[in-house]
Amino acid sequence: MMVEILWDVIFSFLAIGFISAFIRLAKGPHLPDRIISLDLISIMAIGFFVAYAVLYDQSSFLDVSIILAIITFLGTVAFAYYLERRV
């Protein structure tokens, strides 16, 4: 019982962080703000995958998070390159 409540707390922490990052993604006010919030959203998604891997005892979710980490890094670097060459 106690354990389930703690898992609820963990997922609600993650969800509140997600929501605040999405608010920043919607508000802007500049393009780099949106890029940095997308970066944080994908890092939080890695955390979600890892938490679900433990909760449902599925170790293969960890492979998904590795791929997501690589794609996140490449995406942020590509956005930064675009932003620098755009000026």
């Binding site: 354990v3 703690l6 898992w7 707390v9 963990i10 997922f11 922490f13 993650l14 509140i16 962080g17 997600f18 929501i19 605040s20 990052a21 608010i23 920043r24 006010p29 500049h30 393009l31 780099p32 703000d33 890029i35 940095i36 919030s37 970066d39 944080l40 890092i43 939080m44 890695i46 955390g47 890892v50 938490a51 891997a53 433990v54 170790s59 960890l62 492979d63 998070s65 590795i66 980490a69 690589i70 996140t72 890094f73 942020t76 670097v77 956005f79 930064a80 390159y81 932003l83 620098e84 755009r86 000026v87």
Partner: protein, 138 residues
């Protein structure tokens, strides 16, 4: 017993992720936001991956977890630095309470390089007026 240790690690990690999200929402300008997300987000997710590795307790999972943590810790500063540099070029305004800006006047826009002396006004990045934190966060 081990279950509660894992839960504690996960609670700490998810709390750090929450702090990163709130910092992204509440910090006054882009560069402060980046410092909040890069530190808290990476450490929070790293702790959660560590908790998963302890939970599964297999050699293959430990390898993956170490690879993931090392990758996160290597790539987060790189991407944050690239984005901060590009944003400075782009002329993102600093917070009104900023005390010191050592780079002001040293970036040359035409060559994208850092010069020793102050470059002329037309080669500097066009920075918008500094803004108040409360105006942004409204």
């Amino acid at each position: 017993m081990a279950e509660y240790i894992i839960l504690g690690i996960f609670l700490l990690g998810s709390f750090l992720v929450l702090v990163a999200g709130i910092g992204l929402l509440r910090m006054p300008d882009l560069f402060l936001r980046m410092s909040a997300t890069a530190k808290a987000g990476t450490l929070g997710t790293g702790l959660m991956v560590l908790g998963a590795a302890i939970y599964f307790n297999e050699f293959a999972i430990y390898t993956r977890a170490i690879a993931l943590i090392a990758f996160l810790f290597v790539t987060a500063p790189v991407s944050t630095h690239m984005l901060g540099r590009a944003a400075y070029f782009d002329g993102v305004p600093l917070w009104k309470g900023t005390i010191q800006d050592d780079l002001r006047g040293h970036y040359k826009v035409t060559t994208h390089s850092l010069e020793e002396e102050i470059v002329p006004e037309k080669d500097q990045p066009h920075v918008e007026d500094e803004v108040d934190a409360f105006e942004i966060n409204k």
